[in-house]
Symmetry: C2
Subunit: 270 residues, 2 copies
């Protein structure tokens, strides 16, 4: 294995939700070292303007590049949707966003080619999923809806029960009113997989048939493996270094997304 291969993969997110991507990458590429940056001081990106999201995302990527990563994964859908061109232009290594892999998974899952996307306001406004899906399947129809309640619901841990159910029903009822024929729902935000049960139940009940649920974390991990090719570290130690810009609630929230307790982390100022 060359020194080049031993360089870590960098992952950044607006907060801790991107640890769902870390989890998927560790499962797909257990030999890789990972450097994760959560911009928890400035979370959420999803309510900010494209210009602000791009500025913050570039600072996150710069932090990772300074640590010698061989690949950048943009776990945050909002950053992927709004800042991928700027990030790719500013990077000397490959950059993979959440949207393209998510779009491919959605097309693989959909029969009717009618796809719903839920995400933050900034992700939905960017129409990034529409663009990515249209590039691959021009006849597909995509409808999007911003769902600002879902992130705090996931962080509060209210992922099952009447409140999560009512909120899921309210949002998906709106989405299914726009397109009653959709057969696939993309969870276009790192937090939403925690609410997948209630979202799938509400979608199925409202539509009267099962709706396929797609999230981008696994798709991103597969794209990372493909992008690395021979640069993949097969015999590494799978170390994980976590950096955050604010540590508030980190010990409480991080395990919900990572699936295990945080061994250690470092606080940084971008």
């Amino acid at each position: 294995m060359s020194d080049e291969n031993r360089r870590p993969i960098g992952v950044f997110d607006s907060g801790v939700g991107g640890l769902t991507v870390v989890r998927a990458v560790r499962a797909a590429l257990p030999g890789e070292d990972l450097v994760y940056l959560g911009d928890t001081a400035r979370v959420p990106y999803g309510s900010k303007s494209p210009r602000t999201v791009e500025r913050y995302s570039l600072a996150c990527q710069r932090f990772l590049l300074d640590r010698g990563v061989k690949l950048v994964l943009i776990a945050c859908n909002t950053a992927s949707a709004n800042a991928l061109p700027a990030l790719a232009a500013a990077s000397s290594v490959p950059v993979i966003g959440a949207v393209e892999p998510g779009a491919e998974s959605a097309l693989a899952a959909s029969t009717s080619r009618r796809i719903g996307v839920i995400g933050t306001l900034a992700t939905i406004r960017s129409r990034a999923y529409e663009t990515a899906i249209a590039a691959r399947a021009p006849a597909a129809r995509v409808v999007g809806l911003a769902c600002p309640l879902l992130v705090p619901l996931a962080e509060e841990g209210w992922t099952h029960g009447p409140i999560a159910g009512l909120v899921a029903r309210r949002y998906l009822s709106e989405l299914l009113t726009i397109d009653p024929d959709l057969d696939t729902l993309v969870l276009g935000c790192t937090h939403y997989p925690l609410l997948a049960d209630e979202l799938a139940a509400a979608a199925g009940e409202l539509a009267g048939r099962p709706i396929a649920i797609v999230d981008s974390a696994t798709a991103m991990a597969q794209a990372a493996r493909a992008a690395l090719g021979e640069q993949a570290a097969t015999a590494g130690r799978g170390e994980l270094a976590i950096f955050v810009t604010d540590a508030s609630r980190l010990d409480e929230l991080a395990p919900r997304f990572l699936g295990e307790r945080l061994a250690t982390y470092e606080l940084v100022d971008l």
Copy 2:
């Protein structure tokens, strides 16, 4: 009226919620010019650590002082609870936070001296209301609870109906389990007055008796009038200049809190 009196009052907040304070100040002091800064690029402060909140708050106040304000109002409860000492030390003009006036209103409303406070995580963790109330009434008992769902509920406009009702019941049931005898509830966040109806209904129903609801905006306006004294502008034009660090959703959200449409605003980078 001296030139000194004609200087504007400065108000800052982490976002647009502080426009509820602008509204109250304009009602109490209609002759005053106001400069409002909403740090909408970095909203919310409520989930961030005290150090980050203090750093951002100092930048907001610096912006207002550079515009020659004669008084600074910290509309944001989180900033008031975590950064008032640093802000007062860094200011050449009086600084009024949300907590002290809110604590005084709560004590005026409470008979049992058992007071509940709801707010963001950072406000509750700071125990600022407990400290302010204990300084005035050592025998009073204060219980606090962080309610992260309430800000997005208010911003989504879901201020009445089954979801707002269930969320209010869930939080207040937890608060009344901690202290079943409280008779007053402080809405310790600029957004919460929009949910006052559901919160009052849920509190009354759960407690089996009416619970007094206190919010700090009106109390802050009275404190501002008292602090200005002879420096109050009685014959001014009541102009309002609004600055924000991010304009996303501004036209949709601001009127909910200000009570009228925004005539104009300016985007700034702190």
